[in-house]
Symmetry: C2
């Protein structure tokens, strides 16, 4: 809420009509900024989010996550890259444009506070106000550079299905000496389920899971194949992973962008304090998430997942599947005039043309922008690849921040100059 | 330490020489009580422990675990059954004997504070003082009744191997959207290991695991087979489990006593707070324990376990195996005169003859009693089967407590009367 108020004040200070909109009683509000001082000129909507991932594990941060610190040309803070750095660069760009006589086109900011949780408010707002939100372009300003240092333009955004599995056996923890060998164990059951959801080739075993996956195009495959070993090496260097996991029959770049994935994100059960406790726990739970690609439908997959989970479970263990979050995948055309505007902006500010990528992450509202507003989407952003988004010591290079401001200014100017 | 001082004072108050012995710098002390006022009479050593299991999960207790409460004829508290109830019944019995002119034989209490953790002090003390601790009988007073309400005499005690598996992948948590599909996941790896350590028949896959297992005797099998369905039904009723797990080709009673077992006792990894965090965690760990039976050797099994864990792990994930606890299994002869003394004591106090059982739990020091002192072991106790040892709401029926005091008095009198 403090974030939303700060943004409202900031947008108002620029001369925009700024309001905080509570779409639901329990969600976080969206912040809307409007300026239509250029009748007859195009209308640009800029999307961003002010919420961030939880900062834990706290002990891995070199400086406190909510006390920004600049070290060696990088600003360290939770949200520095994902996505407050992007939002601030856009705000600063627009501030400069107002200072220089006003932006050359009509402008709208849509800033949400639920991108990292179950994004509901902004998608509903977009659906309910589709007519009023008509735009000539939507800039989804929440992206990262690729690991070679190139700016990116996304051609797809993965969807998400995030569930919690709750396994329960006996009503209470049991003595493992007295009942071990007879009592079903919820941790063992969850382990069997998680292990059973992938086969030895990394293929996800949920029935029908891949049925609607749009195959990677031959052009993309050809382009990726030539560079795939280098790509894998760069991913290893950035992340510190020692070996690549995942579907053995697919290119590394396919696995991070055009193939769906499944990961356990958390697990807890039984005694996890210091030392020994010889129990068979009563319950255990795990958080699992799937990244989905066009045209997978999370509702269909949820049904199959539930069946598969129950078939992989152990007799005597009940497993409940709770959905925590879901978002459809989106495929995006790269529309020449708007995409060219961003290409030119990046080329001038960073010296590199952006490359087309499949965005591995999920930005739930893109689906609603596409369905309800229909304007060309430009999905990009300024965080460098080693920004540690979602991880401890998240950071944004100060250089990217300043060049990012220039990029947004140039993009807006290029867009305004498009012959309509 | 408060427990040890309380016991020393109590034993001293009875007229015994009582001392607290610190065997090591970091362990918990043992309490030794000695009375040799009957020269020429047998010497009985009574073993018990004053430590208890951790009380968590605390929210499952109906009354605080360390504020004993009597409800409907049961005393609820952590340790009520395992094993402070046993220890108190023995102390009370001896108190009555002193009040009645002194016990009819020579007596020693050996009470430890490390039974539930890695028991090291008392076993070392027993080994180092074997000659001085010579006894005609060792009463290991830490047992439970069977689930039909019969007292028990153990013919074997399972050993233990308790390990912690630490899995680590990337140096930091990673964004599951950006790196999912490539980054190896420590939770997935642990799940694969835990699931892979048993096959679909519940058989443990550690190479050579069963090589030294002494087969159940034909007499035991015959006796158990006739009652096995009832036994399984009683276990279900007591524990609330909905289905039996474990080795499908063995009787339920074999699985709890004469077969070795493996269970995950705890697991933790990644994000386990409320809501969603889309990460591939850097680390995860699990606690695993094996109950061992004669003549399995935990050192041999540890070596095979380590190999099996590494062969089940995922490339890019390092797994470390830490041993938290280990104890050898023990087979016990039921020696006629001493066992008969306990049979008669139970028959008189409870109206039932004790039955021979294989104790599923582990009492580490029994191995050292057998090896270093060599006297007949009598392993029994007074807790009823539904005492919830190691679980929330642990309890002892008040009736068992009073009858337990009588049982110890009678056992001592019977033992003193044995013609030597």
């Amino acid at each position: 809420m403090r974030n939303a108020e700060w943004l409202q004040e900031r947008l108002g200070g620029l001369g925009m009509r700024a309001e905080i909109v509570h779409v639901s009683n329990d969600g976080l509000p969206i912040v809307v900024g409007e300026w239509d001082g250029r009748p007859g000129k195009p209308h640009l909507t800029i999307y961003g989010h002010y919420d961030v991932q939880p900062p834990d594990p706290l002990d891995k941060w070199e400086s406190p996550p909510f006390e920004p610190q600049i070290r060696e040309g990088r600003l360290y803070a939770r949200g520095a890259a994902d996505s407050k750095g992007n939002v601030m660069a856009a705000l600063k760009a627009v501030q400069h444009l107002f200072a220089a006589g006003g932006p050359p086109l009509n402008l709208r900011f849509l800033l949400e506070g639920e991108e990292e949780i179950r994004s509901e408010s902004l998608p509903r707002y977009v659906r309910d106000n589709a007519q009023r939100l008509k735009s000539d372009c939507v800039l989804v300003w929440d992206g990262v550079f690729d690991e070679q240092g190139w700016p990116t333009l996304a051609t797809s955004v993965r969807g998400l299905l995030y569930v919690e599995l709750h396994a329960s056996g006996a009503p209470n923890d049991l003595h493992s000496g007295l009942y071990g060998g007879l009592a079903p164990n919820p941790i063992d059951a969850l382990a069997g389920i998680i292990a059973g959801l992938k086969d030895h080739h990394g293929r996800i075993t949920i029935p029908g899971f891949y049925d609607s996956v749009v195959p990677t195009s031959p052009q993309e495959l050809a382009e990726w194949r030539s560079d795939d070993a280098n790509y894998a090496a760069r991913i290893k260097a950035i992340t510190g992973i020692r070996a690549l996991d995942g579907e053995t029959n697919f290119l590394a770049r396919e696995r991070t962008g055009s193939r769906p994935t499944l990961d356990a994100n958390g697990i807890l059960g039984g005694f996890v304090g210091e030392g020994v406790k010889t129990i068979i726990p009563a319950t255990a739970f795990a958080k699992l998430s799937m990244r989905l690609v066009p045209d997978q439908d999370w509702r269909t997959i949820l049904t199959s997942l539930e069946e598969q989970v129950h078939s992989l479970s152990t007799p005597g263990i009940e497993v409940r599947v709770d959905v925590l979050d879901a978002a459809p995948p989106v495929a995006i055309g790269i529309d020449p005039p708007t995409a060219d505007a961003m290409r030119n902006a990046f080329l001038t500010s960073f010296g590199n043309n952006p490359i087309a990528v499949r965005e591995g992450g999920t930005i739930p509202v893109t689906y609603d922008f596409q369905r309800s507003i229909g304007a060309p989407l430009v999905i990009s952003g300024i965080a460098q690849a080693d920004c540690a988004a979602h991880s401890p010591n998240e950071n944004l290079t100060v250089d990217h921040y300043y060049r990012g401001i220039q990029t947004v200014i140039r993009f807006i100017n290029e867009l305004a100059a498009i012959d309509q």
